[in-house]
């Protein structure tokens, strides 16, 4: 049996039953990386010796009957935004080329403590800025369903690695849709938890008030199991929720009977939406209705301001967060500069890509004296209105359903020269970050061209359990998540 066809929980059962070893699972993953990743280009760095050593340790724990947790021995990959002690951590940027992380991010520590071997670091849009992984400072990642297409972004490497079965699961980050959109475009499950649910300590910051870490997996149950490891209060992150997370698998199979699911009018009225996407999502909502949920139209009137709001707040925070890449202490330093100012300028010019520079400029402008009130402050006010829209909607519904992305996967190069078209990819996912809500994407169909389509489920703050339960209810009666990607061989 090829272990890579298993879900994380299926592999965990096999490890538990000792019918497979973690070393076998890691070898199978690494072999697949070797075979496929020359074409997919999901990995920036593969840690073969590290992963194998962790797998051996896991097998010893399993053998002695002392597993570190239910997923002990299940190999996963990390978006290259997570600091991982002793491993390169580039955030997809040339400015951090060769940077070896001096410490482990809290989530990396948690994964290690739970016994999950770490396969390596996955490609991404530089500093998580992008929706196609084309903004990687190294190379674009390709969609395993069709190698001419983008896997989405910014966690495109994570999505592609999971979809192509090179990793059993992966961690991504989501600032405006960077977990959910690539999950949708590659036919996997991706969840952005409530802001504060998972520690951001050791995660290279893009936009601190929006960034959130989440699991990317092949099934909803895997997603719940991986989230369980990550959702731990962290005293090193002052925005982390100090409350202990519930058991995400306790009510996973509870179904949707009696639930009220909101359909936001504004999301379905978007002119640029692909009719095939709309049809698939409508079919999915009907399926949930058949299972006993009631569908309720809701209104999120400030949705149309979400994109503008996001592109003021996120770049503003990014312009400050990225100031530390100045060539002084670590990462790239341009040589030959005549003075300090030139050293700064040349380092940042050489180290940052076009999109990162664009956003630093946008953000610097939005925070400048004389413009702050008109841009940043106003954006914060609109953000409050968007949050309030959801509060009102959640007064009458248990969750909100929508497409994850207005279209299925697009061609590499198609939107690179049109940043606005690229930004529109995130129109359904951004409001969730602005409101700090949990949101998940899961496969809900395919286009005629055979490309996956994602259903987005948004929940109340801290209500990940219900989001997962709804997703699981849908997944149980469909097999979209079982299909193997067509762009790469088996």
């Amino acid at each position: 049996m090829d272990p890579t066809t298993l879900s994380m929980l299926e592999l965990a059962s096999a490890l538990e039953a000792r019918s497979l070893s973690s070393v076998e699972a890691v070898r199978a993953s690494l072999d697949r990386v070797e075979r496929l990743d020359g074409r997919v280009k999901a990995f920036l760095h593969v840690d073969r010796p590290g992963a194998l050593a962790q797998a051996e340790a896991s097998d010893r724990r399993r053998a002695s009957g002392t597993p570190a947790g239910p997923l002990d021995g299940v190999p996963v990959g990390l978006k290259d935004l997570f600091l991982t002690e002793g491993l390169p951590t580039t955030a997809g940027s040339r400015i951090l080329e060769g940077f070896i992380a001096p410490y482990d991010a809290t989530v990396v520590k948690l994964l290690k403590a739970a016994g999950l071997p770490l396969l390596g670091k996955l490609n991404m849009d530089e500093f998580a800025m992008g929706s196609s992984t084309e903004n990687s400072g190294y190379f674009p990642t390709r969609n395993p369903w069709n190698l001419d297409l983008s896997p989405g972004g910014s966690s495109g490497g994570s999505a592609a690695a999971v979809a192509a079965r090179m990793a059993f699961g992966a961690l991504g980050t989501d600032t405006g849709g960077s977990i959910r959109q690539p999950a949708a475009l590659t036919g996997i499950v991706g969840l952005k938890p409530t802001y504060g649910r998972v520690s951001r300590f050791g995660v290279v910051a893009f936009a601190s008030s929006l960034d959130q870490v989440g699991p990317m997996t092949r099934t909803v149950a895997d997603c719940a199991a991986l989230l369980q490891i990550l959702a731990v209060p962290d005293p090193r992150d002052s925005t982390s929720n100090p409350e202990v997370a519930p058991d995400y698998r306790a009510e996973l199979e509870g179904g949707v009977r009696g639930m009220k699911l909101g359909l936001p009018r504004e999301y379905f009225e978007l002119p640029g939406m692909d009719p095939e996407v709309r049809a698939a999502v409508e079919a999915a909502t009907s399926a949930l209705q058949k299972q006993g949920a009631s569908l309720v139209p809701v209104s999120l009137p400030h949705t149309r301001y979400a994109l503008a709001t996001y592109y003021l707040i996120a770049p503003a925070e990014a312009s400050s967060n990225l100031a530390r890449y100045d060539g002084v202490r670590y990462g790239l330093r341009a040589f030959g500069a005549k003075n300090l100012l030139q050293m700064y300028g040349q380092t940042r010019d050489q180290g940052f890509g076009l999109e990162v520079k664009r956003r630093i400029m946008l953000g610097t402008y939005a925070l400048s004296a004389g413009y702050y009130d008109a841009y940043y402050l106003k954006a914060q006010k609109v953000r409050t209105l968007i949050k309030r829209d959801f509060e009102e909607a959640f007064a009458s519904v248990d969750a909100v359903l929508s497409p994850t992305s207005p279209t299925a996967a697009f061609r590499i190069g198609e939107k690179v020269s049109d940043p606005l078209a690229m930004y529109l990819n995130d129109v359904f996912t951004l409001p969730c970050n602005l409101a700090g809500l949990p949101g998940m994407s899961l496969p809900c169909g395919f286009t005629r061209a055979g490309l996956p389509i994602g259903l987005q489920i948004l929940g109340r703050p801290w209500d990940e359990a219900r989001v997962l339960r709804i997703g699981r209810a849908f997944e149980r009666e469909h097999d979209f998540h079982r299909r193997a990607p067509t762009g790469v061989g088996g």
Binding site: F82, F201, A205, P235, T239, E317, S319, V328, Y330
Partner: protein, 480 residues
């Protein structure tokens, strides 16, 4: 026209390092003088991915300062990022407070030529310190030491209520004394743990609007504060009198040349792009905390000064010397209690012998080898006539260096005065019978001889005779 036609207007911004053991947003030590970058971690080095976690002690210290300076403590205040590039600023921004600081609307009483006056304090906010750039004197390289990066600071901003450089110095000294009393700052200007920037402008005496303000930086002693402000006042008055304008700018004080020079103009001023720090929730002060801290506030220098004058009957001069150091004042009160004698006499010992020896030995009060009971015992011996004043000074010097009991020292040195009247009488008899000629002269009216006779008795007693007893015995025997 001259300087006297102008009214200087001065406001001060003081940065005080808070005396916490660890930094404001990480666990690194704040100890001064360690090898470069010894007290650093991923957080204060500004590594990718790090997040700040607030040190609660910092907030308590700032509230202490805020309440001692009569400020309102805002139940919710906001952290902000101040963005600028400099190699000693590892994150490219400083975490500070901007729109809503922790403390606001306080005041500090100072003495001026026209009597006591309250200088209003606009705000006190918390922030982290930057590191320091070290320049290779050869000009080759610049190095960065981040030991100070993340050390907690309070910035105390006064209203423009000061009217002369002398008032500015008075304000700074009073402020420093309070912070040191509160044990939140060590008041050390040279090490930079108490730093001051001055905003200086001048206006014609009949004017109703302030003149253009100049910010002075790099003033690291009280003397320089006075000199820099005076230089700046003269410079501004000269500009105005010659028909030119004062430019809105930041100027550096050059202590060597004794002048200020332009550092950056208004056009070159940084746009710090302040915005709320997303990595830290608003600072919420838990109910009851301010009240608890208030209860624990020590008596402040001004109140203590008044009390010392009243309670101990000390001169303002003595009281000021004693109160200048909280530990010295506390020690004085402890000795006063153990001694019970006249406080003025005790104060003389403090301002004289004790401070002199402390200074000579370079010893801190906290390192004294003796306690209040020893010093009290010494003074009591003087009062009882067992020690002469001069002998007491010898004993005190020994006490200061060894911490041994004064009685033991005095006995060992043979300084105890003989109190036994029998012994005195015997010595007097012996001296009188050995000097019949002198006795004759005395009785014939040559009263100066009395002093000679006293000297002979004291010599006979090897200096240990109590002078009062010797006098009385001699007079009695000579028939007076």
């Amino acid at each position: 026209m001259s300087v006297s036609d102008f009214q200087p207007v001065i406001g001060l911004e003081v940065h005080g390092q808070l005396l916490t053991k660890s930094k404001i947003f990480c666990g690194c030590s704040t100890e001064f003088g360690a090898p470069p970058n010894a007290h650093t971690c991923a957080v204060c080095l500004g590594m990718p991915g790090v997040l700040p976690v607030l040190n609660a002690q910092v907030v308590e210290f700032a509230i202490r300062a805020g309440r001692a300076l009569g400020c309102r403590i805002n139940p919710v205040s906001i952290w902000a990022r101040k963005n600028y590039f400099y190699p000693d600023l590892p994150k490219g921004y400083q975490i500070s407070q901007y729109d809503l600081p922790l403390c606001e609307h306080g005041g500090l009483a100072i003495d001026t030529d026209a009597g006591p006056r309250t200088v209003r304090i606009r705000r006190i906010h918390l922030e982290e310190d930057a590191g320091k750039n070290v320049h290779d004197p050869g000009g080759g390289e610049s190095l960065v030491d981040l030991n100070r990066s993340g050390v907690p600071l309070v910035e105390i901003v006064s209203e423009p209520d000061l009217r002369s450089s002398a008032e500015a110095v008075e304000y700074l000294k009073a402020l420093r004394d309070i912070l040191v009393y509160l044990e939140v700052n060590d008041g050390n200007l040279e090490e930079g743990s108490f730093r001051c920037d001055a905003n200086v402008s001048v206006m014609r005496k009949n004017a109703t609007e302030y003149g253009t303000r100049v910010e002075l930086k790099n003033i690291n002693s009280f003397r320089f504060v006075q000199k820099a402000i005076d230089y700046e006042i003269d410079r501004q008055v000269e500009l105005i009198e010659s028909g030119r304008k004062v430019a809105l700018e930041t100027r550096l004080y050059d202590a060597v040349k004794g002048e200020t020079r332009s550092m950056r103009s208004k056009e070159e001023a940084h746009d710090y792009r302040y915005f709320p720090e997303p990595d830290l929730p608003p600072l919420r002060i838990p109910p009851g905390l301010v009240e608890r801290i208030e209860k624990e506030l020590p008596e402040l220098p001004r109140a203590k000064l008044e009390r010392f004058e009243k309670e101990y009957g000390l001169s303002a001069y003595d009281a000021k010397i004693l109160v200048a150091d909280r530990a010295l004042a506390d020690f004085f009160e402890q000795v006063a209690k153990a001694y019970g004698g006249p406080a003025k006499k005790l104060a003389n010992w403090f301002t004289g012998e004790l401070l002199r020896l402390l200074k000579e030995a370079g010893t801190a009060l906290s390192a004294l080898r003796f306690g209040p009971p020893q010093l009290a015992a010494l003074l009591k011996m003087v009062d009882a006539g067992e020690l002469s004043n001069n002998a007491a000074k010898d004993v005190f010097a020994e006490l200061f260096h060894t911490g041994r009991e004064p009685k033991d020292i005095a006995q060992e040195k043979g300084l105890i005065q003989v109190q036994d009247t029998g012994a005195v009488d015997a010595a007097v008899d012996a001296v009188l019978s050995a000097n019949p000629g002198e006795v004759e002269k005395y009785r014939a009216g040559k009263k100066q001889v009395f002093g000679f006779l006293v000297g002979q008795v004291m010599r006979a007693m090897k200096g240990k005779g109590n002078p009062a007893l010797v006098n009385a015995a001699l007079k009695a025997r000579l028939g007076e």
